[in-house]
Amino acid sequence: MAIPPLTQTPTADSSITILDSTCTFCGCVCDDIDITVKDNHITDAKRACVLGKAWFYGHHADDRPSCLIDGRPASVAEGVERAARILTDAKYPIVYGLSDTTSEAQRVAVAIGDAIAGTVDTTTSVCHGPSGMAFQGVGEVTCTLGEIANRGDLIIFWGGNPAESHPRHFSKYSLMPKGMFVPNGRKDRTAVGVDVRKTKTAKAMDLFFQIKPRSDFEALWTLRALAKGIDVDPEQVQSDTGIELSRWQDLMNRMKAAKFGVILFGMGLTMTRGKHLNSEALLSLARDMNAYTRFVVKPMRGHGNVTGADNVVTWQTGYPFGVNMTRGYPRFNPGEYTSSDTLARGEADAALLVACDPMANFSQPARERLRSIPYVALDPKDTPTTRSAAVSFTTATYGINVPGTVYRMDDVPIYLRPALTTSHPGDLEVLSAIHRRVMELKR
């Protein structure tokens, strides 16, 4: 399925430029980056943001072996054999990660999870998992990012800092673009920030609400009440949220007056007190607002293809993350089947970890468990997770070395056109080989 770069422009110094290449560093998935390559090195990444530039310029071919077994160099074939044995010998194997690889690779990873009667989970469970649960509860009113660019005239950023986490979101999608119904770009929009601290994002806003920590739920329900004209106690609102009622009322007036309102929310909402109840309050507020005007909501997804992971796991199993297939069919229960929990409780006895680093960011009990069980790790980089793996594959980087599909934070699928070659295999190649061997062993 390799698709050659559609446009390469040779230059005098024998470098080539690949037009409209895609950056997978964050959920923005900017697909307008012109990459210049010389001697298999990226020398320019035009239009990339500070994170994107670091992503492209910081890419160096890893000279580690493509496979290590118990820390010793081995052939990929030996690694595949050992990996398949580990996964098929286990009683409660888990598959985790998946958010920084192509959907083609994700599909095979879920297939392995199915074949080994395993539990499949993605990094969604530790970022926007609560939003996924809120989605199941109330639904979601949303749109693609181009709709925001063309129509959005009131943009609310809630519990996130896109100025630093998604640097081009303002300029490309949400604040600056001159769109069909907002021809003057930034001048036609009101930008509102709601957060517990004054981040760099707050400086780019017209209005900023610095709410008390852990009061998102109360703040959102205040707005829901105001939308419906229900009286609320000014003193309680002030003491709960740290913001005067009159300011919330002013915000609600603006929300109702907007033609196309947008709320973009981050992990400040989903990973603080209230979790999925916060997300559910926000999704419900956006829904409520459609009685008065058009209003949409969108989680700001972090990883380049975490949205693809949600999609793939859903279309193959019916559920977005935290899926257990031990009984031969998929069951969903976050908290029970999510990887940080299966590890921390000491249930998981083997793991297939794809493009993730739980050894760096899971809880102490989860890390201790992981260290004590055999597991397989696929990652382009040397990480705490790859260092403790029974089998570690150094894989090619998606978007830089290997092609494939990624889903932008608004579910728009975008194809990757790689700029560099590498001697390392891609995730898809390694996972497909493991899958084949697992199927043979299961026969």
Binding site: R107, G139, G146, E147, N290, R294, P320, F332
Partner: protein, 552 residues
């Protein structure tokens, strides 16, 4: 030496395209296709299936369903509560696990279609921006060939070309867009109405001559323009229309106007049941059937085809590109609501609902669907569908067949629904019973013709060897829900309900020619308004799994 021949011997064959109506015949298969019987007497088949006493038909074709893409996948995400209670799809050595409910997972969808004897299905509403998503899901939907219709009824470039009265530009754009998405035909959903929904609270259009603000066109002009372009491009299928005012009392006038607007152009009116309502605006008490009036028009206009969109009682999930309709339904049923607007192209609404036989409206919807089948004179132009999962699951097809073939059963069912159905529809007076040959027409041969699939829907030499073998039974539900054998491209994929060899199936798409000079024009517009780059939009051939171009 191996002859590569597979013989289905002595079955009672239904092949209406060749005028075969229940005759004992042998069917010969080689290399995935049906072939003429070998002329040399000493040629032996490698494999024989003795079909004596069994019914042999081409594989079923669902020409209007929702089985893949962003809308369907969002609906899967939204219905965990259904899946726990639903039938379990358990992994076997050669099949994947999955989940059911009203929106099955991809592998489950493929297995269940095959289990019913269906070997081809078309998803009816795909925003081209999400085409790659659909191709990925299709590859994970085994056992059936697949294609999809491309949403164009609220596409900005389409409306702009019509407003400028530039039919050639419109034609070239449609051809380019179909090729870019690798889709099958243009789909028009609530033309103009979805764009208004994006602009105004509860926005919609309510008649064919309302102005679509900012674009200066009317729904009527959109329907006319796209229908003519499709005919001029000689696409295998016509324009596929989800008319304005779906589900609203009194909408039959809009539907009739839509049919008249088509003039001599070919047009397929989807889920026509949902568009056949009399009654006053917003007044449930006046709700009644106008199937008789609309069927009469279709009976006398051979350029028109319909699929029914039969309603079955029970829980389901509605999903549509008709954004304002999704909002209406979620409010009416007080259910959770998903909505997603796709830039430049379309909308999307999802809401769980339950059809109840105690409800006058739902009972009438059920009855109106049956009226359409029973009143239509030409079975070649009326196709079985539930608009899966909007009216109900495709798994209800065997039950619908029994309702059509067995009037005693139908009368019994009629006793269980809201009594006002007797006065407000003609169903109680209809005594027609479908024959097996007519069932074969409305479930495979008819849709094959309407879609313009020369290799489907029949059992003549050259056809894809997609074949279903049924065990005859007076209980038609039982007969059609458990085929004895299902063959896909010559491979036995199902035997008596068990999946044998789940082949992947292929994508069916069109690639009409167009004046490539339009690409500059499109690119300029595209880069101004889309959030992805023009260069990254089209789906190239090497992105597809097995595929076949269909020519008109």
């Amino acid at each position: 030496m191996s002859s590569g021949l597979f013989k289905i011997a002595g079955g009672t064959v239904y092949d209406p395209i060749h005028g075969v109506d229940g005759e004992q015949r042998d069917i010969w298969i080689r290399d995935g296709r049906i072939v003429a019987p070998p002329s040399e007497p000493d040629v032996r088949q490698d494999k024989t299936f003795d079909a004596t006493g069994l019914v042999v038909m081409p594989g079923g074709i669902d020409m209007h369903c929702h089985i893949a893409g962003p809308k369907v996948n969002s609906a899967r995400k939204m219905r965990p509560e259904q899946k726990r209670k639903a039938e379990k799809v358990i992994r076997t050595p050669n099949t994947r696990s999955g989940t059911m409910g009203s929106v099955p997972s991809t592998f489950a969808t493929g297995y269940k279609y095959a289990g019913l004897g269906y070997t081809t299905a078309f998803d009816a509403a795909i925003p081209p921006l999400a085409a790659r998503h659909v191709h990925e899901e299709f590859e994970d939907t085994p056992c059936i060939d697949k294609g999809f219709f491309v949403l164009m009824g609220n596409n900005h470039f389409v409306m702009q070309s019509i407003q400028r009265n530039e039919p050639e530009r419109l034609r070239s754009f449609i051809a380019w867009l179909l090729g870019a998405a690798k889709g099958f035909t243009p789909k028009v959903v609530n033309p103009g109405g979805v764009e208004i929904w994006k602009q105004q609270p509860s926005g919609n259009v309510h008649g064919l001559d309302e102005n679509v603000a900012h674009f200066g066109v009317t729904p009527r002009q959109i329907i006319e323009g796209v229908a003519r372009a499709v005919d001029a491009l000689r696409l295998p299928h016509s324009v596929h229309i989800h008319a304005n005012n779906l589900g609203m009392p009194g909408n039959w006038r809009t539907t009739l106007e839509t049919m008249k607007t088509l003039g001599d152009s070919r047009g397929h009116l989807a889920h026509i049941q949902f568009h056949s309502y009399g009654g006053g605006e917003g007044d449930e008490n006046t709700f009644n059937s106008k199937a008789v009036e609309l069927v009469e028009y279709v009976n006398t206009h051979s350029n028109l085809t319909v699929d029914v969109g039969q309603v079955l009682f029970g829980e389901t999930t509605t999903m549509t590109a008709d954004g304002p309709l999704g909002y209406y339904l979620s409010n009416a049923f007080k259910s959770k609501w998903f909505s997603s607007d796709t830039e430049m192209e379309s909308g999307c609404g999802i809401a769980p609902i339950e059809y109840k036989n105690t409800s006058l409206v739902h009972s009438l919807q059920w009855a109106i669907g049956l009226e359409w089948y029973l009143l239509a004179k030409d079975p070649w132009r009326v196709v079985m569908s539930t608009d899966h999962p909007n009216g109900g699951s495709f798994l209800a097809y065997p039950q619908i067949i029994q309702l059509l073939m067995d009037r005693t059963y139908r009368q019994e069912m009629l006793k269980l629904v809201h009594p006002a159905v007797l006065e407000r529809s003609t169903l109680a007076d209809l005594t027609r019973e479908y024959t097996l040959s007519e069932i074969c027409i409305i479930t495979r041969s008819g849709p094959a013709r309407i879609l313009g699939l020369p290799n489907k829907g029949h059992l003549g030499p050259g056809a894809d060897a997609d074949i279903t073998v049924y065990t005859p039974n007076d209980d038609k539900t039982k007969m059609f829900e458990l085929p004895r054998m299902v063959i896909k491209n010559g491979v036995v994929i199902v035997e008596q309900g068990e999946i044998r060899q789940p082949v992947t199936g292929k994508l069916l798409y069109v690639s009409p020619e167009y004046d490539s000079s339009i690409e500059k024009d499109i690119a300029e517009w595209f880069e101004k308004y889309y959030s992805i780059r023009f260069r990254n939009y089209p789906v190239p051939l090497d992105y597809l799994h097995d595929h076949e171009e269909v020519r008109g």
